[in-house]
């Protein structure tokens, strides 16, 4: 049976700081994104080369897409939204590469337990929770930055009991956003990897291919859903302020 672990496996520690295989994959994803960005923009020309064209297509497409949701606030929120999308899609797809989850070692102390060297970054709850926290904190940050201190009336409103209760519900809703963001992404990608591992165990050749294609699609959809929901929540937060101002 393939080895399946809900939590990412610890590889070791550095100065007391734990390092697991998902963190290593996260660094790889970061390296891919940063080196790719550097290569795409190091020698920019009016008539772009192939690499620059792809970068322009992706960034321009994302900008246009998020513009339809965020409207006039797009300049402020675009880096966050685009980074969420690019990071999540890269992490999801890197998790499907050969070697991720299959190349590893057996611990000397527990020979039966296989420890993969790499694990899909988004199959670790720490990563998805970190992304969810960043997204929700950013929503509040942009809300306060755009609307001002008046934005706090969304959560603390003592003008009447109903508004006060609504404020409590808003706080609960923000917390639940973190949970839903984190577990939606983690659940989908982790389930996909488990499915692939099981299928590959049962039928190693040809049969996993359709599932691999499906996981590519799921990886894209999850990145889109995460970033799009963040954009929508951001728009709601910013609109809430402007409505109250009006």
């Amino acid at each position: 049976m393939p080895h399946i672990s809900l939590a990412a496996e610890r590889l070791g520690s550095f100065l007391g700081f734990p390092i697991n295989n998902a963190l290593v994959t996260t660094w790889c994803v970061m390296a891919i994104l940063i080196i790719g960005s550097f290569c795409a923009t190091r020698n920019m020309k009016e008539v772009p080369n192939a690499f620059q064209s792809i970068a322009e297509m992706v960034v321009g497409g994302l900008y246009d897409f998020f513009s339809t949701i965020s409207g006039k606030h797009i300049q402020k929120v675009f880096p966050l939204l685009a980074s969420l999308f690019l990071f999540i899609i890269a992490a999801n797809w890197v998790g499907l590469l050969p070697g991720v989850g299959t190349v590893g070692f057996f611990r000397p102390e527990e020979t039966e337990k296989f420890v993969p060297l790499f694990r899909g970054a988004t199959t670790d709850i720490n990563t998805t929770l970190a992304l969810a926290i960043v997204a929700v904190v950013a929503i509040q940050y942009y809300g306060f930055r755009t609307v001002g201190k008046h934005y706090s009336s969304r959560f603390i409103n003592i003008t009447n009991p109903i508004n006060f209760f609504v404020g409590i519900l808003e706080i609960a809703s923000e917390v639940s956003k973190i949970v839903s963001f984190a577990f939606r992404l983690f659940g989908n990608i982790f389930a996909g990897e488990v499915l692939l591992a099981v299928i590959a165990f049962l039928m190693p050749f040809i049969v996993p291919l359709p599932f691999l294609m499906m996981e590519l699609f799921v990886g894209f959809i999850q990145a889109l859903v995460f970033s799009m929901l963040t954009a929508v929540f951001l728009s709601v937060a910013l609109m809430h302020g402007s409505e109250n101002h009006a």
Binding site: A40, T41, E46, V59, N126
Partner: protein
């Protein structure tokens, strides 16, 4: 929490990792790419405006060229018409002059021929008078006697004197 693998240190590390990604990609990817896209968009818009302007200019130039061509055609036609008129007039003048000159030449030739004719007649008369006189002199000297000759001369002198008296009166 432990079963899920949530570790505050790892969570913090992932938060920092993502924040690094946001900052680096903003500087390295979004800013230059969006700047380039904006620049290209502006250039395309400018070029479209320029193209529209050039198109309008071209239309104006076409109209102007057509106007110039039409005016030149009109002027050409007028010049041709004028040249035709001038040529026709000059032709008539030349013909008239030629007629005049030929008439003059004919008249002169006639006068000359008449003069020559008169002169010739005069010469012929003179010659014939001389011939007649010579003949008469030879005949009279052989036919008439000296007394007859004297009578004839006296008669002729008398006639001349009468003619002279008539002229004086």
């Amino acid at each position: 929490m432990e079963q899920l693998g949530i570790e505050p240190k790892l969570l913090l590390a992932q938060i920092i990792n993502f924040c690094i990604i946001v900052v680096v990609l903003s500087k390295l990817l979004y800013k230059p790419i969006l700047g380039m896209l904006e620049k290209r968009k502006k250039e395309i818009a400018d070029n479209l405006v320029l193209a529209e302007k050039l198109h309008t200019e071209e239309e104006k130039l076409k109209l102007k060229r057509q106007e110039v061509i039409d005016a030149a055609k009109q002027e050409g036609l007028m010049v041709i018409e004028e040249a035709k008129k001038q040529a026709s007039k000059e032709g008539k003048d030349i013909v008239a002059e030629a007629h005049k000159q030929s008439d003059e030449t004919i008249r002169r030739a006639k006068a000359e021929s008449e003069r020559i004719y008169e002169e010739t007649q005069m010469n012929i008369r003179k010659e014939s008078v001389n011939v007649a006189a010579a003949m008469a002199k030879r005949l009279l000297s052989s036919i008439l006697s000296p007394g007859d000759q004297r009578k004839l001369i006296t008669m002729h002198i008398k006639e001349i004197e009468d003619f002279a008296k008539k002229q004086q009166n």
